[in-house]
Amino acid sequence: MKKFSNTYIFFYLGGLVFAVALLLSLAALGLKPKQEVNRQREKAVQILKAAGYDAADKADAVRLLGEVAKARTSPAGREMYDIHCADGSDGIVVYVDGKGLWGPIWGYVVMDESMSEIKGVVFFHKSETPGLGANIVEPEFEHRFDGKKLRDANGHFVPLRVFKGGGHADDPHGVDAVSGATITSRGVENMLSQSLKEVVQ
């Protein structure tokens, strides 16, 4: 077996690390614009979908969003949009964020102008468990929020509850949780109640 001197090992590793770092940085720089476009497009598609638009043409989503929605911020500094929904009504989009099981979760909630009823929601997550918590981004789960009420009969804000077996037709404030993802579901519940509390009074 060949004998390697310490100097050789030192320079060998140094060179290798440098080469790897260089290649990775170049790849990161080269791919970044494409990733950023993906993210912007994804965001626009999702907001449009929550507002009832069939944003099948992904490439056009950013432009379409600019046409139907006007960005503003809430008094508490939260990202919001005044949006003209697909069904002809006007609505309000609010950015919501919170914690899942492994990392941040966030999303957009589309409400009617009086902020008393949800028209649609979209959720995102950074690192929830694939197949379990990650299912909060599935349309099947997101549609469970459609038509849920955010205020009681007196007009006071009532936070939505997300729990197993929730979502009965006679419960306007309850939503069925994702099975196998109790903590992520609770995260969604907390995210909605805390983020919407700032906006819906």
């Binding site: 390697f4 090992i9 060998y12 590793l13 690390v17 790897v20 790849a27 997550h125 197949g131 379990l132």
Partner: protein
């Protein structure tokens, strides 16, 4: 050719060598992430086997693990960035598990056991086949769990509606982590049973 086919059968990395079980348990709740994960591991395993084999005579044995780790990490980060740039939807679904390929024992196991002592082309084949052997198990388990747990495959409904009307229910346990362990455990058991005519 035949000598490379072991990983698909009697030398399967998951079922016989019991390597890479962690990610196999984690990403098999549905078919789609299982397939993408299988492809990612195959690419990483094959390419890092190739590179390590190419530079095998220059690697000082004392730091070979560090060198292997460096090469594996390079490919994993590359795969992650490419997934984010070109198949954004899937990369969101796999989230942290792509990064965790770095610690997948199959990849490093093949580098240690094969690439360090073999020529580049056989090493490439070996990595490819081990990745595919891993992927095969992921696809089988992923299909079973998605089909029985949700009644779908690749998010397309397979179980007919009539079955649900007749009282059939999706087995929620299938998509929970314990069922992955039980399924893979059963597969390992089936695979390692003694043939009838064995001594």
């Amino acid at each position: 050719m035949k000598k490379y086919l072991g990983p698909l059968n009697r030398e399967n990395p998951i079922l016989v060598q019991v390597l890479g079980v962690c990610s196999a348990l984690a990403v098999t709740a549905q078919l789609k992430p299982a397939v993408v994960m299988a492809l990612s591991v195959t690419v990483v395993c094959a390419l890092s086997n190739l590179i390590i084999s190419l530079i095998r005579n220059t690697i000082p044995p004392r730091v070979r693990i560090i060198v292997q780790l460096l090469v594996v990490s390079f490919f994993v980060v590359m795969v992650d960035m490419f997934l984010q740039a070109y198949v954004y939807d899937v990369s969101k679904m796999l989230s942290v598990f792509v990064g965790l390929i770095i610690t997948n024992c199959i990849v490093m196991g093949r580098l240690e056991a094969f690439a360090l002592s073999h020529k580049p082309l056989p090493s490439l084949m070996d990595g490819l086949m081990n990745g595919l052997g891993y992927g095969l198990v992921l696809v089988v388990v992923g299909s079973l769990r998605e089909l029985l747990g949700r009644g779908t495959l690749w998010n397309i409904r397979i179980m007919p509606q009539a079955l649900y009307e007749a009282g059939y229910l999706d087995n929620g346990l299938m998509i929970l982590p314990p069922m992955a362990l039980i399924l893979i455990g059963s597969l390992i058991w089936i695979f390692n049973r003694k043939p009838k005519n064995a001594r």
